[in-house]
Symmetry: C2
Subunit: 264 residues, 2 copies
């Protein structure tokens, strides 16, 4: 059992809470049973190390067995070591160090996607994670993220995706204009989700391949991005309400695209 | 200008971050421009005091003017006083102390509601606030909250409602069974939103008065509540995804009820 909270190993895992270290090493941390389970299922070959407390080995014995089945070594650690490795205040006893998988826009487009999400300058980790989770739930083929956005491999984003990060390609560091060009060239309609839109969500044709384009939490999409989209779409809300938050709007748009609220 | 961070006034406002003090005094705190603006618009008579920093008086002069128009006295405070009054790490310069408005289930039912939400044992402040905001956005007539749930007047819930708390009645402290009885007696269909449901959301008839019944974030609705509902409804999601989070599921159900995703 690992018990030395001052070891180089602990410091090295903990340092992955910094973006610069993640970028240099190409590694990130997955914290908690839900994320670790999906990492084992969908990305076992990319798991460098798996750290589990004695209590979590008992509580999640199915998960530990699944890890051993695919040949992963499980490091047993004490609570203090896990707490020192994790950036969360209430770690849940399991933590994996995983190699990032770089996806490209070209790779996504080569698979003829029918539903994608483009996040432009989204800064809040919870929002970004929730959108990735929603994209996954409603069968999107990819999430595209511009370079001014939050790092999707930050612990908070990874946690709030609840494992969805391992289910679909998330492409990062994109330029919004180049991406809109590439989507248009592939015949993918771009739908800006924005409260100023004149097209209402129930009137959108979601039968053709399309991309939902979502802007920043506070200031939305810049006009030069919005105006380049095929259409600007508004979720109809009560007039007394100023706006939906980003994650809510994205969830509703994606659910509608998937036919989860109406038959296609 | 108020500058004494140790004054009784500051201590008294700060103490409202405790549930016991809110319950004893019948007062709660609204923090930030969005919430304060809606309090002034919809509940001016219930505002005891309004505290604004010099910077916020300049930045939100329309809001300060609106407060003065309705006869509210605006206390100018320095940054330290506002920070000491607020429970948030980054206060936004405005804070109001507001008297709670007790709503009752009987009052809500007397208005023949067509769309309500019942939250049973919802514990996370962000989830509760987001559901209230979604209920408001999609024209719900009320939000009903059982007594095992988070206090909707806690600063975190109030903040995440973004002012919606002042737009529709939120009834708290309810017993789930009594509430289901009362809804049934008024001919309001109760729709349990739960991943185990066999009815899919697109198949639900939302043309009749109905209540969405949402359970706890982690363990959902207890079977004895779920089984008493008219129907158990599932949002169809991709099989690789375990579940939607509570706020996402509620938002999608409410948007569907409102015809925001499909024509009614």
């Amino acid at each position: 059992m690992l018990t030395n909270v001052r070891s180089d190993r602990v410091k090295s895992v903990r340092s992955l809470s910094r973006r610069s270290v993640r970028e240099r090493t190409g590694r990130f941390v997955v914290d908690g049973p839900q994320g670790v389970r999906e990492a084992i299922r969908y990305a076992a070959a990319r798991i460098d190390d798996l750290y589990v407390t004695s209590a979590a080995i008992e509580r999640h014995n199915d998960l530990v067995a699944a890890a051993q089945d695919v040949g992963l070594h499980v490091h047993e650690v004490d609570d203090a070591v896990l707490a020192a490795m994790s950036d969360t205040e209430s770690p849940q006893g399991l933590l994996a160090v995983v190699a990032a998988q770089p996806h490209t826009l070209e790779g996504v487009l080569a698979d003829d996607p029918r539903l994608v999400v483009l996040l432009s300058n989204v800064r809040d980790p919870g929002n970004a994670g929730t959108v990735i989770r929603g994209a996954d739930a409603f069968g999107a083929d990819a999430v595209l993220v511009t370079d001014g956005s939050v790092d999707v491999l930050s612990p908070k984003v990874v946690r709030s995706t609840a494992g969805s990060l391992f289910h679909l390609p998330v492409v990062t560091g994109l330029d919004a204009h180049t991406t809109l060009d590439a989507l248009a060239a592939h015949g993918i309609r771009t739908l800006a989700a924005d409260g100023v839109g004149e097209t209402l969500l129930p009137d959108v044709d979601v039968s053709q391949p399309h991309a939902w384009v979502m802007g920043n939490e506070a200031w939305g999409l810049p006009p030069e991005i919005r105006d380049r989209c095929t259409d600007v779409v508004r979720v109809p809300i009560h007039e007394r309400v100023e706006s939906l938050n980003l994650a809510m709007a994205a969830t509703i748009c994606l659910a509608t695209s998937a036919g989860a609220t109406r038959r296609p």
